[in-house]
Symmetry: C2
Subunit: 237 residues, 2 copies
C-alpha cells in the first residue's frame, strides 16, 4: 500500500469461509490490530503477531458474521489483554463498542469508524489514515456486495450508505472486503464506483435485484450467530 510509511500490513485468508483477515500494525510502537479474524485461523494470526514482535491490542469485527465464527474470542484467550471491538449497533457483546465517527488509534496510525448498515444493521467500515484504504466487511465486496435478506438487512440503506460513506472516499483508496470467492484480493474505490455490477445500478434497480436473489440459508448461521453475538467468547459454565 503506497503512502503508508511505518505501517505493517498483511492480508490473511481463511479458505473454508473465504474470509480475509487483516493485520495492521505500527512499526515503531508495535501496536497491532486484526480486522475480522476467524476462529479457525486465530492461532495462525496470534503467531504471526508474535513472529513480527507485535503487541496485539484490538480484534475488530466489521459486523456480526453469519458465515463463520469470529476469532476475537479465541484471540482473547491466546493474547491476554487484547480487546474485542464491534459496532454498538450490532447488539453484540464486546470489550469496546464503537460508533460512527470514532477513531481507533494504533501508534501513529488510525482507523475511522463509518457506519455502513444494510447488509446487517450493525455493519461498519474502517477507513485507514484518512483514506489510504478502507476495510468494508460485507457492505461492498469486489464487484459485489453482501446479501440484505436477514439480520436487519436493508437494500435501500446499503445502497445509500455505500454511496455516501465509501464512494465518497478518494478514488485511489484501496478497498479490502471481508470475503472474496473468486481469488481477487483487493480493489479500489474508483474501480467499484465504475465497475461494481450491483452498485452502479440506480437505487430502484438495486433494491429490485437484492430482493430477488433467492439465496439459500447460510450454512454456518445457527452455529456462528449466537457465538458472534458474544464476539466469539464461549461462556464457561
Amino acid at each position: 500500500m503506497a503512502g503508508t510509511d511505518g505501517l505493517i500490513f498483511r492480508q490473511l485468508f481463511e479458505k473454508e469461509s473465504s474470509t480475509y483477515t487483516y493485520l495492521l500494525a505500527d512499526t515503531e510502537s508495535k501496536e497491532a490490530l486484526l480486522i475480522d479474524p476467524v476462529v479457525e485461523t486465530a492461532e495462525r494470526d496470534a503467531n504471526l503477531c508474535k513472529d513480527l514482535g507485535l503487541r496485539l491490542v484490538y480484534g475488530l469485527n466489521t459486523h456480526c458474521h453469519a458465515d463463520h465464527v469470529t476469532g476475537t474470542g479465541k484471540l482473547k484467550e491466546l493474547v491476554p489483554g487484547m480487546k474485542s471491538v464491534i459496532a454498538k449497533a450490532a447488539g453484540a457483546k464486546a470489550d469496546m463498542l464503537v460508533e460512527h465517527g470514532e477513531k481507533i488509534a494504533f501508534g501513529k496510525h488510525s482507523l475511522e469508524v463509518r457506519a455502513t448498515p444494510g447488509h446487517t444493521d450493525g455493519c461498519i467500515t474502517f477507513v485507514l489514515n484518512g483514506g489510504t484504504a478502507c476495510f468494508t466487511g460485507d457492505a461492498i465486496l469486489i464487484r459485489g456486495c453482501g446479501r440484505t435478506d436477514f439480520q436487519g438487512g436493508n437494500a435501500a440503506m446499503l445502497y445509500t450508505k455505500v454511496h455516501e460513506q465509501i464512494f465518497s472516499l478518494p478514488d485511489t483508496c484501496n478497498l479490502y472486503p471481508a470475503h472474496d470467492y473468486k481469488g481477487m484480493t483487493s480493489s479500489t474505490v474508483l474501480e467499484e464506483k465504475t465497475l461494481n455490477p450491483r452498485l452502479t445500478k440506480t437505487k430502484e434497480e438495486f433494491i429490485e435485484l437484492m430482493n430477488n436473489l433467492g439465496l439459500p440459508y447460510p450454512k454456518q448461521i445457527d452455529r456462528a450467530l449466537p457465538l458472534n453475538l458474544m464476539c466469539g467468547v464461549q461462556d464457561i459454565i
Copy 2:
C-alpha cells in the same frame, strides 16, 4: 507496496492449487504482466486487465509447474500478442526464453531475472525495481520451500541459491511466493531469513530434511507437466 509510485499491483488466488498469480502494470504506459497465471483463472485475469484498461504484454512462469496447468497458453488465445516467458533452463517452449541477469521492462518498471534452481532446474525469481519485491515461485515459500525430489530438484542447490540470490536482497523486500496453503499472502526477506524453519538450518541439515520428506506424487503432474512444457499451448492437430 511502499516506494513503488506508478505501479499497479494485484495478488490473485486460485483455490484448487492454492496458487498466487501476480498482476503488475505501469499506470502510465498501461503495460501489464502476469506472473504464474493458472489456466482455470486465465479469464478472470484477462478480464481484470481489461477492466483496468491495461495491455497485457507478458505472461511469466517462474518454472515449469507440476501442480497446476499454467494460464499462459489460454491467455495467448484471450489476449492476442501476449508473450509467454519462461527460463531457458526450464527446457520448455515459450515466446521468450530468459536467463539470469536479464531484465524485463514494463513502462518505467522492471523485473530482474535471477536463476534460483533447486526445486526444479529451471526455477527463476523475479526481482522488482531493484528489490522492492521478489516473486520467488516455489524456490522459497512463506516459512517453507518447494520440494526437491523430482524435475531436476536438488536440495543443496536450492539452499545455495536461496541464500545467494534471495537472502541477499534488502531485508525490507516483500516476498511473494507461487503458493501458500495456510492463507498467508506475503512475507519479507528479513522474515524468511530469520523465521523460515527450513532455510535457517545448516546446509547439511537442510539436505537431510529435504531428502526425507516422503511426499506423495503430485496429483496433477501427469496432466500438467506435458502442457506446461508447451507453456500451456495445446497443439491443434
